[in-house]
């Protein structure tokens, strides 16, 4: 350090320190816009109760998106989310029966573990077989589906959620804040810590930007790939466990409506679908944005058809706007 002034000049800018870039700002701007629009429709939109409820619903998506984000940061994609969500829910509820007395305690970790196993297999396929992730994970999704069909059809398993699942998914314990929100916060803090403060997190960005350069710098890129896919699988399964708690049971197709929103939330939060760029704050913004969008559409009694169309269009339009900005700057 040659002097105080250079030190200051080399310090990160305030916005940069908090990870606020253009796309994150746009995403938060859209959230405010939706809230303002909703408030015009009905003042109830700004009530704390409504907002907390949205955050609770958003927490499930947020947990899935946390995993999806790690994979997208690598420049890959995890399309096995739908059935891994279901797998997590079904394995957790089934463990209650299989595990005997310990089942009640083991069920949540077991569900998450099963998701992590599928995720690890995804990672192995992408890292060692060098197969395109979207295709390998699609195949893995089909395998998970096959397993779950077999599971539910064969043994007529216990599919009721436990009290613990219900507790963390639905109830509120501290200051009336939903427990699910705390869970998301813990997951989120973990992701932020990993991405910002660990060598693994740096490696995630490095692999996403240029895997060859990361490899030549001594990064164990295969380990990074497998780790992120395993995390994605674990988080999808964890969300499945919570969803089972939320609706009191596990059922087929429960994860179907989470794939596109999860990817959309990550991408709308400014994470580059090609990898290497993005921060968790953006993902939070994306999750809230998607959740509010869904909520406002359902409050306006928009049918599923319209929701799908608006979803798709919002994603395309926002990405085109982000892309335009990126091109203008370069």
């Amino acid at each position: 350090m040659t002097g105080v002034d250079t030190g200051a000049a080399r310090g990160p800018s305030l916005a940069g320190r908090f990870g606020i870039d253009r796309s994150v700002a746009i995403a938060f701007g859209c959230i405010l816009l939706i809230l303002a629009g909703g408030a015009l429709y009905s003042p109830a939109f700004l009530s704390p109760e409504y907002l907390l409820q949205q955050l609770q619903v958003g927490a499930f998506l947020g947990i899935i998106a946390s995993g999806a984000m790690m994979v997208i940061l690598l420049g890959h994609i995890d399309l096995s989310i739908p059935w891994v969500v279901t797998l997590g829910a079904m394995m957790a509820t089934a463990m209650v029966g299989w595990g005997g007395a310990a089942g009640v305690w083991l069920c949540i970790p077991f569900g998450v573990f099963c998701g992590a196993v599928v995720g690890t297999l995804n990672g192995l396929g992408v890292a060692y077989l060098r197969l395109p992730s979207m295709i390998f994970t699609l195949g893995m999704n089909a395998v998970a589906q096959g397993l779950m069909v077999l599971h539910t059809g064969g043994f007529a398993p216990l599919d009721q959620a436990t009290k613990a699942m219900h507790f963390i998914a639905v109830q509120r314990s501290l200051f009336g804040i939903p427990n699910a929100l705390f869970v998301w916060a813990i997951v989120g803090l973990f992701v932020i810590y990993v991405l910002r403060r660990t060598a693994f997190g740096r490696a995630v960005y490095a692999v996403g930007n240029r895997e060859s350069a990361a490899y030549l710098s001594g990064v164990n890129t295969n380990r990074v790939l497998i780790g992120c896919f395993a995390f994605s699988g674990a988080m999808a399964a964890f969300a499945g466990v919570l969803l089972a708690g939320y609706s009191n049971k596990a059922y087929q197709n429960m994860g179907d409506s989470y794939l596109l929103p999860a990817i959309a939330a990550v991408v709308l939060g400014g994470t580059n679908i090609l990898g290497g760029r993005g921060n968790y704050l953006g993902t939070i913004a994306g999750v809230i944005l998607i959740t509010l969008l869904q909520s406002i559409l359902s409050v306006m009694q928009m049918p599923e058809a319209g929701r799908q169309v608006i979803y798709g269009c919002v994603i395309i339009v926002m990405l085109l706007i982000y892309g335009r900005g990126a091109k203008a700057r370069s």
Binding site: A142, V143, G146, V149, P303, Q308, L320
Partner: protein
């Protein structure tokens, strides 16, 4: 010149090894199926099999085109379902209005594909995310058109296209053959069709050689939409109704990718053919039928299919054995 002709044939065989493998695989499996079927190979058995198989074959053909350019179309299943829903609404009335409806459905399918292509080419978004998002839009439109299963279809056309020609040949196969003849073969032999291969093989070299890269991609996605909607039409003729079903759309998208791979087309672009994808689709369908005749418990079928799919896509991993410089693994 017999020497020249012979060596030409040798190269033709080598270039089409993937397709021929799929054909052989299908032949073996289908023989196995027919010989274990209680009725044997009757026109009725063949027609039932053909009617189911042609649907996936068309969607798989559709998927082949973007894959050849080193892209992907995750919306083929949605376009397929969209065409099904629209057809169940407008391919009605007299044969004349029905045919008009058919043309309209195909036009809408091509438009859907063109939109995908336009976003990929001019918007410069990734094919995966683009088609994932447009797929949602197309599915939403399907739901809008057909909130609950139902509708109808012009029965003369439907019966003609799903029955038998001369009481023997499954008409659906004739339709497929016709589509290969008027869409695929001219495309394969057109400049833009070959440009699609060039783009998939090496986009940079293609550009340097003066290949029309953008138009090739646009046409590939547009034709993909057209072919997927042809599949949706055939579905309508089979079921006499429309249904906006997300699981069906998802399953067709997934199976189309598997069929493409089984048919010998490289997911890294530049190599393969829609003919291979047709037989890849036939193979997948026959697996299902085989599970049926061999009395595999129905509950095992989805798992079995999933494993077959995963195995099929893993065949692509053989390329890494050839890599001598590890840096090439990352491209």
């Amino acid at each position: 010149m017999s020497h020249g002709a012979m060596s030409n044939a040798r190269y033709w065989l080598a270039h089409n090894a993937g397709v021929l493998t799929a054909v052989a695989l299908f032949a073996v499996m289908f023989t196995l199926y027919v010989s274990n079927h209680s009725a044997g190979l009757t026109p009725a058995v063949a027609t039932t099999a053909a009617n189911k198989a042609v649907l996936l074959a068309l969607v798989a053909m559709a998927q082949t085109l973007p894959v050849l350019t080193r892209g992907l179309d995750l919306s083929v299943g949605m376009v397929f379902v969209l065409a099904n829903c629209i057809a169940s609404t407008i391919v009605v009335g007299s044969v004349g209005t029905g045919l008009l409806g058919v043309a309209a459905v195909l036009g809408i399918g091509a438009l859907a594909g063109f939109i995908n292509g336009a976003i990929v080419v001019w918007g410069r978004l990734q094919p995966i995310i683009t088609t994932l998002a447009t797929g949602a839009v197309y599915y939403g439109i399907s739901l809008f058109i057909r909130p609950s299963p139902g509708g109808d279809v012009q029965s003369d056309i439907a019966d003609l296209l799903t029955g038998q020609l001369f009481g023997v040949v499954p008409a659906a196969l004739v339709v497929l053959f016709f589509i290969v003849l008027v869409v695929w073969i001219p495309y394969r032999r057109s400049i833009l069709g070959r440009a699609a291969y060039a783009v998939g093989s090496n986009e940079q070299a293609a550009y340097m050689s003066g290949v029309p890269v953008q138009r090739a991609k646009l046409l590939a996605y547009t034709l993909a939409g057209l072919l997927a909607s042809a599949g949706g039409l055939m579905l309508t003729f089979n079921t006499y109704s429309g249904e906006a079903s997300a699981p069906i759309a998802g399953a067709y998208t997934l199976n189309s990718i598997a069929a493409v791979v089984i048919g010998g087309t490289s997911l890294f672009g530049g190599w393969g053919s829609a003919i291979g994808s047709i037989f890849g689709a036939f193979v997948l369908r026959t697996i299902e039928d085989l599970l049926f005749v061999f009395d595999l418990p129905p509950l095992w079928q989805p798992l079995f299919q999933g494993v077959v799919l995963l195995f099929a896509v893993s065949l692509g991993a053989f390329r890494i054995l050839r890599v001598r410089n590890r840096l090439e693994l990352f491209t």
